[in-house]
Symmetry: C2
Subunit: 290 residues, 2 copies
């Protein structure tokens, strides 16, 4: 595979994800210049200090004017709002992508918005940490991770090929999915676990109002949940909002499964409980084997 080379890449949003991506782009030598665009100068300066970007601006139009690849690394619900304000200024043949965690709603709106101006395609690199801000950028965050791209009927082959090459050059393994399937799969494997973790911690905090400092007695289990539930609330608000249907479906399915375990416990069904718990063994083995 020949390595792509871009004259200029603009990263809109230099938080943890955007800055980490800039670091990889620079390290892999995929372009001459990366421009960071953000309203938050702390993030911009930190990203510059980490050599994730070559220059920065808080002016959208200036930032993207000469970019041949524009990457939105913004919270999902902000992406379209920002896109509306810059679509007219994007270079005619520029490729535009985003790295948002939900795709159906956004891809549909972005595809329409950019239809005449450029080549938009959605991306979702499956990576991240629970920390936010450029200061928490991670070198190699995208390497060895899957990146789902979500072309639609109108996406042209050149765009698909170009974005595939881009992510592969970063070190990611590209998978293709339609936006609806993507959102359904992600609701199950990512959005639901986060909703559950948030609810679990919220419940423990309520329990503490009864007087016990429960945290003192928390073992490993709760600690893992706490880490997950410590993810950026703004990012997750946007994910839950923009994938509400599938998230609600997955919450409902999960509640039924938990109720099934509850019924077994209520019935003191020793064999039933054991089989339920033992049933996840296979999944764990596959997870470890990955």
């Amino acid at each position: 595979m020949s390595k792509p080379f871009y004259e200029q890449i603009a990263i809109i949003g230099t938080g943890m994800m955007g800055t980490s991506l800039g670091m990889s782009i620079k390290k892999k030598g995929l372009c001459k210049k990366v421009i960071g665009v953000d309203r938050n100068f702390d993030n911009l300066k930190t990203a510059r200090g980490l050599s994730a970007i070559d220059s920065y601006t808080d002016c959208l139009k200036d930032g993207i004017a000469d970019a041949v690849l524009v990457i939105f690394a913004t919270p999902v619900l902000s992406t379209f709002e920002i896109a509306k304000r810059m679509v007219y200024a994007v270079k005619k043949d520029a490729i535009v992508t985003d790295i948002g965690s939900t795709k159906a709603e956004l891809v549909s709106r972005m595809t329409e918005l950019f239809y005449e101006h450029s080549n938009y395609i959605g991306s979702h690199p499956i990576t991240g940490t629970e920390k936010s801000g450029a200061i928490n950028a991670v070198d190699g965050l995208y390497e060895g991770k899957r990146c789902i791209i979500t072309p639609v009927d109108g996406t042209d082959g050149f765009t698909i090929e170009a974005i595939t090459k881009f992510w592969e050059s970063i070190g990611s393994e590209v998978a293709v999915m339609d936006p609806d399937t993507h959102d359904r799969v992600m609701a199950t494997v990512s959005h639901l676990p986060h909703a559950v973790a948030y609810a679990l911690i919220a419940g423990v905090m309520e329990g503490e109002k009864s007087g016990h400092e429960l945290l003192k007695y928390a073992g490993g289990g709760l600690k893992d949940f706490t880490r997950i539930a410590g993810s950026d609330p703004l990012m997750w608000r946007d994910i839950f909002m923009s994938n509400s249907k599938e998230v609600l479906n997955s919450i409902e399915r999960f509640s039924r499964t938990l109720e099934r375990l509850g019924s077994l416990i209520r019935a003191k069904d020793m064999k039933g409980i054991y089989d339920f718990l033992d049933g996840v063994k296979d999944f764990k083995r596959r997870m470890v084997d990955r």
Copy 2:
């Protein structure tokens, strides 16, 4: 604090927890001889190889005959059954404890059983890993961890003092709780998170039947849950069985909290969702600060 010294300690059950405890007892020099009692000779030999025990036997009576401290490191529901078979052979003044994760039911039965024969007191060291078997024993597993002891009205002061000294000498920080409070607190901070993790993974596995290999797209969130849900099914069956009332209560409370988040998502209440998610921040900070 003067370090206690025991002529002989018997550990019944040389799995991961029992073997790790033997390692600490030996390392801290708390006794002349540790005897491991188990039906599983693989565990016994491994424990011996790790110098967690000095000798071993599969004969309960021989194992505990000369022990002045007997520690049950067996699944909660097995403990009482085993105890019934050896109670007559325990030394008159021996201290007996267990390290089970639920206390109310077991402590009540054990207290009655050992009433005339020895000094029983329940212990629950809040530590562990999701792995089982002597082969997975961890050096220092109990050090720096909390251990809850659960005396009841009839427990004499000498027993409380002795077991406190024992755990402190191991390196644990001792807290005192009555068995009912213990079980209520643990249902919230430990048993519920495990039930939820098991149900979550069971749900994903069902989802896979629809054809997608969901695991391929799982990010960090699901991985943490998988680790928790990979805990020993027998141990957790016993925990859910022996603390069924509090576990069911905590599942019900949790379901209501999750439903509250679901309602906010259904209503597309951006501020409500954000506040819900942001609300756990404080808990996370306290968790990290520990």
